[in-house]
Every structure is written in structure tokens, then in C-alpha cells.
Symmetry: C2
Subunit: 480 residues, 2 copies
Amino acid sequence: MLSDRALAALREVVPGDRVLTAREDLLTYAADATPLMGRPPSAVVVPRDAEEVSEVVRLANEEGFAIVPRGAGTGLSGGAVPASEDAVVLLFHGWNEIAEIDLGNHMAWVEPGVITADLHRAVEDHDLFYPPDPGSMRVCTIGGNVAENAGGLRGLKYGVTKDYVQGLEVVLPTGEFVRMGGKAVKDAAGYDLKDLMVGSEGTLGIFTRVLVRLVARPASTRTILATFRTLGAAGEAVAAILAARIVPSMLELLDRTTILAVERYARLGLPQDLAALLLIETDGHPVVASDEARAVSRLCKAHGAREVRHAATAREAEDLRTARRAAFSALARIGPTTILEDATVPRSAVPAMLERIHEIAARHGVVFGIFGHAGDGNLHPTCVLDAREPDEVARAEAAFEEVFAAAIALGGTITGEHGVGLAKRRFLELQVGDPALRFMREVKRVMDPNQVLNPGKVFAPRPRCEHPPIGHPRLAGATA
Amino acid sequence: MLSDRALAALREVVPGDRVLTAREDLLTYAADATPLMGRPPSAVVVPRDAEEVSEVVRLANEEGFAIVPRGAGTGLSGGAVPASEDAVVLLFHGWNEIAEIDLGNHMAWVEPGVITADLHRAVEDHDLFYPPDPGSMRVCTIGGNVAENAGGLRGLKYGVTKDYVQGLEVVLPTGEFVRMGGKAVKDAAGYDLKDLMVGSEGTLGIFTRVLVRLVARPASTRTILATFRTLGAAGEAVAAILAARIVPSMLELLDRTTILAVERYARLGLPQDLAALLLIETDGHPVVASDEARAVSRLCKAHGAREVRHAATAREAEDLRTARRAAFSALARIGPTTILEDATVPRSAVPAMLERIHEIAARHGVVFGIFGHAGDGNLHPTCVLDAREPDEVARAEAAFEEVFAAAIALGGTITGEHGVGLAKRRFLELQVGDPALRFMREVKRVMDPNQVLNPGKVFAPRPRCEHPPIGHPRLAGATA
């Protein structure tokens, strides 16, 4: 618990009822979108500017409490939930100003609480484009995207959040304020601290402003839906498209379980006997987008596609995209609890990984829907279960453990775009090995000697938060 | 000096005459392409495999000598030259195997001594493309490119080396061997050590293998030469092209001094009264490349271009590119010493920076040629002087100091693509500020507690190498 002295000091630094301690406020910020993770914080603080953030961080060092920065709380690895009972949540979702759109340099300075889709719309008005589009883009925030190095559906062609972070204003774990990067697009001066900050999950610094790089808005887009009778055929079509040196702006796969759930939810009129579906987009110059769309269509048919449908209108394309984006919500409706993961493999290993996941799910008797970004190997095996059944949770846990091991064995990673957070810290060493993990811990120790920023995330917890947070590792607790 | 014991131990670890100590060998590796920097090493070691590299590094920790990894020695910041008398140069230019071109994943594993242009050719045979193209690409090595985060002419559209490093095999300063990254294109697991390694200038690890990402080879290229009577008009044409959301694959600027030098060297038949020249390439789908080339041509004319010439043949295009790539060599012929820098600014600040450089050069009475990557703000102000004249060197130094300050004041950086090395370590704090510099130093200290890897680079030197290397900071010494 936070001491009375620390709480009083907090109220002094952040005045005017912006330190919340009512039970309902604490419960609100006990969880994010990750099931079975988290616990209520001691207080929730709504800072007004970087100066206040800095003072709160200094206070945390003096009084010895933990700080958990939080945007919209849509994270899927437990990165934004408290892991210790002294934790203070620092809320940024109100920091939603797009401070500058620099048309000369094709960049924008934004506050961390700006919603990703709002940034999309704002820059598209200027014929510019901010490509990262996480599944939760209509609610998630840029600050959270940077903290987790969020990806999205356009990753294959356009990369992930890190590829678009050009500069950061950061409050370090010491409370010091630092600007990193800037509007010069090439910069080889010293170690790249900015790139170390991106994906650091709130453990190395708190972002108070983000400079994002923008690109020219693609002049046109073609959207294609291809359906397959076997998952293997869909996988072969993906390989053939990439082998033809076509890089679609979207190349999404849905398996049978996910298709059924999406159909029940979105009523696209899909046949019920499909084994797999690919949602593909090409974009750019109208000639390129349509040339590539034709080639994609031909390759899908050549690999046994049952139907290849081209969206005739922008509205139809948007409906297809929306259905894909609804996959998680649709799966969430078929059981009380949904655990969505993002084990990722080299794209050539996607067919092998799909087989492995199905085999693992069958052996453990759990229901897995699989969807995800087939083009970049970033799959989302999603387990639907009832968290009130401890046995079911245990089987799901065992299955995921094997899924992570399989991804690593295939040359992949335990997380492509969600981060490690609380959910996967047990598996990090398995992937990166001892010297690399030690190096990461040393960086954390040197930067944050008092372990005030988001302790317990990414790495095994410091002693004072070793009592596990609620439900960790998902063996009991709340339901999503 | 290296102790006899250390030398004997080195010969044991690296047997078979692969430890060189003859005076001519030591002199050969005293300098790189940076004028007035460096000193002879104590020994030159030619390791055969990662195991030997690891053993040499462990020995350096035990015996307390410094290691300077070196590729082709084409660096322009003194990164590959000894900074202390105990230094041992570790030579990688013989490690030139392209171990794998993975057509399924569009990636290649290469040894650090592979020459950049050799990699270009090898992957183009498979219709793939490795975009980074530093000016020295016909001689420089991938290992050095990764160490300095090298850029090149295609940076505006395609980014820099970091954007293509997908994985690394590294010997850490402790001698431990680590793999970072891999073939999964999305990876959010833990801190991004790989991105910290890229651009670390040989101070955090020695790369023994590099996994690079490849992209689809552009189907066509258009090359355009536009000449201008004023530098200002050329700057406006650049701004207009970018404002039209056209991203050329090359957008190079040469000023009058550089044009005259290049003309004398390459005989392109350029008029002698030009103030500026733009060399522009568009690439991609034939329709896109030619649409964009037409638009570029129109915009250049609208902004006062005197002549716009489209290369009619691939040979003519190659001649133009070769002339641009020869700018450094051409300038080097007009005086005995050439100091080439890469102060970089946001691209909107290019016109202001060009004016500042000319004003600074005039005031200090030094000859500056300016050329560089106008599209991404990465300029190469190049001073031609006679290093045997101490007064001339001092004026050049004073002018460069102002150039760096001007770049920082315009929101830019002291180095866009050459690194800090020895040449710019005095200026790093001016750019990044105290907390960031302290953080970088702490990372170095934690990773390399005995300061064995390339000490004295990036940061002010450790005590035992504080006696300045030959000529530092360019106040006397050898001539390029």
C-alpha cells in the first residue's frame, strides 16, 4: 500500500482531485484487455503536463512506490496493469492533442493519448498516411502503441510502430526529461536510445510526446476475399503470392473456428464449410494496385481457392476489413474467457506453425481459433474457455506453453506485437537466452535503479512484488 | 604497448601467422578514410571464426588491451582506427561469404566482410533488392555498414542500414556469443538489443554474422539530371517534389564547387556556370516510375531549372550515378586533404542549412564543396585544404564546429550516416544533452566493464587512452 505520506505528497504534486483513490476508480484500472491479469492500484493519477509526470516519478523514487503508465488499457500482455500493491497508475488517455502536422517534413508531433485511428484521419486529410493499424486502433492510443511496439494488419508492407517513431519526449525513471531523435530522418549520433524506448513497455521511460513519421497516402486500394477448403491450400496461396514478389498491404488469414465466429457476428454470407479465408489488400498507384490484385486473384485460384471475391465498392471493402478486425470480439462471444496470443514465426514457417497449433490444441482438448497476419508470420492463436473452470485454464496454459516453444523452435518469437508484459515474462529467457536477458536486466537496473517504472513487467519481478498478481500465471481470477 | 605475455597469448589463440606485428602491417591499419585520425595498432589479428573472436575478446579482458574491429576501413569518422597504443585491430574483410539467400523469407545471412555491392548483385540475381548504398559501396563491408548505421543515396525512399538488419550474431564485450533478432519480421520480446547494436560503432559488440532483410527489386528506374543557375532554385525544386508526395529513390544535390570538381574528373559535358545540379531517380512499376519522372521534370522546370535531361539508356543513367558517387574523389583531387562531414537537418531546413554553410565557409576563408542527399536533409559539406598548413586546419576545424552547431540549431544532427567515432565525440553532448549522454555511457559501462571494445570512440576516452591519437582533433598529422 501507498503510505499516507506518499499519498499526501502525490496530492500536492498533482492537485485538484486528480489523484483518485475511490474503490470504483481503483477497480477500473485493475485490468486491461488481457484476461486473468492485474490487481487494483493504490491510486490513479491524472497528470496534466510533463512537469507533473516528472515530479510524480521523482516522488516514486523518494517514497519507493511503483508507477504504471496507462493509455487506453487495450493491451494484451498485461503491460498496463499493476503488478504490486503499491502501484500508482498514471493515466494518459486524456492527452489527446495532435500538436503539429508538419507538411514539409511529413511528420506529426502527437500526445501519447491520441487514439491511433484519430491520427489516421487527421493526416489523411493532408494526403498523408500513418500506417500502423493495431486491431484495436479505434480505441488504443499512440503512447501504448509505442510502449508495446504495436503492429497491425498493414505490417507486411509497412512495418510496425517502431518504423514510424521519429522522436520522443521522455521522462526517464529518474524523473529527468529527455528529447530523443527529431526531424532529421538520418541520425547516427551515439546509441539509439529512441529505438530502445520503443517497445520497452513502460519500464524505461514515460512518453510525454511522440514524433511520428508519415508517408504518402496510397492513391488506391483493392480488397480481395479468397476462400479455401483446406488450411494448407490457403498457406500455399500465401507462399505463392510472396514468391511472386508481391507485397500486399494486407494478407490476413482466418481459420474455420474464427470464420464461424465472425459469420455469426458479422453476417457476411460466408459458406459454413470453409477451412480458411484470406483477406488481401493491394495498394498504391491505381495501376499497381490493380495489376497486383489480378495477380493475387490468379495465384489464389491456382492454389485451389473455392471463391475469389473482389470488393466492388469502398463500402464492401470496409465491411470485409471490419469483419476481420472483429475476429477477436467474435471469438470472445463463443465463450466467457478469451486468451489471445501472438506467437510469431518466419513467414515460411506459417504452414508448419498452423499444423503445430492445431495438434497442440487437440492434444490438450482446448478450443483454439487462429487468425492473424499470415504475410508476416504473426498469428493470433486464440483460446476460448471458461476461466471459472481451473482445469480448463490449466489446459489452456499448458497448450500456450507448447505454442510458445513451437514458435521459438521454428525460429520465431513469443510475441510479435503485444509485448511481454506480465503474461509472457516466464518465456522470455527461453527465447533470447541468458546473456541477452542479463544485458536487458542490466539496462533496466542502470536506467531505473529504484525500479519505479512498471516493475514486474518484461522480467521476473523485484522482491517486493513477488507475491503474484491476481491470477498470474492465469491459474485463477477474473474473466475478460 | 601490448605486453609480451599478451602477444604470446594472442598467437596461441589465433595461430598460423594470423597475428601481424610487422611495421608495415601496423602502419597499414593506422588510418581509415578519415583524414588526420588514428595511430598504428600494437598488432593486427585475422580471426578465422566466431570462436576465435570470442577468445580474443576474453583475452583482452584478462590482459587489458583494446580491440578495434575493422572491415574495409572506408569509415569517415575514425571509427576503425586505433585510439590507444595498446590497440589490437581485428580484421574482418576476409569474412566475405554470403551464407544463405532465403527466397521464402526474403532475407540473407552474410558474413561481416561481404562488400555491400557484392550483396546487391547476389540478391538482384533473384529479383530481390538490398537498398542501402553508401557512397563507398563498391569497397565497404556490411559489418562496417551495420557498425556505423550507414546510409546512402537511396535513403529518402528506402531508409538506412538499420531498416534492413533483421538479425545479428554478436560477440559481446565479455566474449559471450549472442544471437539477436531472427527471421520473424515482427518481434516485441524484450528490449531491442539488435537495434542498440546497429550504429554502436564497434563499442558494444563485434558482429560475426548479419541477417539482412531484402525487398522486391524495383521493376524499373528513371534517371533525371536537372541543372540550376542558383542553389536556392534547386532547393525549391526539392521542396516542391516532396510536397507533391513524390518520394524519389534518389534526390541528390551538388553545388558549384562540387560540379566543377566532378566535371574535371568525369567529363559529363556540364556547363561551367551552374550553381547547382539535382540528380533524381524514380523507381518501381514502370508506370509509376515514368509518371513520377514526368512530374519531377515538370516541377524542376517550374522552379527555374535551366535544363532537365532524362537518361536515355541504362548506360547513361549509370554514368550519371557514377559521377555523383565520384563527388568525394573528385573533390579530393582539388587539394591535398579532404574533410568530408555529414551534418544533417530536417529536410525542410535544407535551404537554410546550405546558406549557413556557405556563410560559415566564407567567414573562415575555407573552401567547402557541398553535395549530398537533399531529399533527406543529409548534406556532405566537404572542406578541401592542405593539412600541412596548421592555420588552414585550424580554420577548417573552427568552420566545422559552427556547421555542427548550425545543424543542431536547425533541429538536426552532427552525423546522419557516418557515426561519431573519434571525429565528433566532442560534439555529441551538444546534440543529445546530459541525461541522454550519461545513459549511453552507462550502457557502455555495463556492457563493457573493462572498456575493451573500441574504447575512445563515440565518448570521451577512458583515462588510459587520453593522450590524443595522432592529429586529434585534426590539429596536425597525416594527409588523406
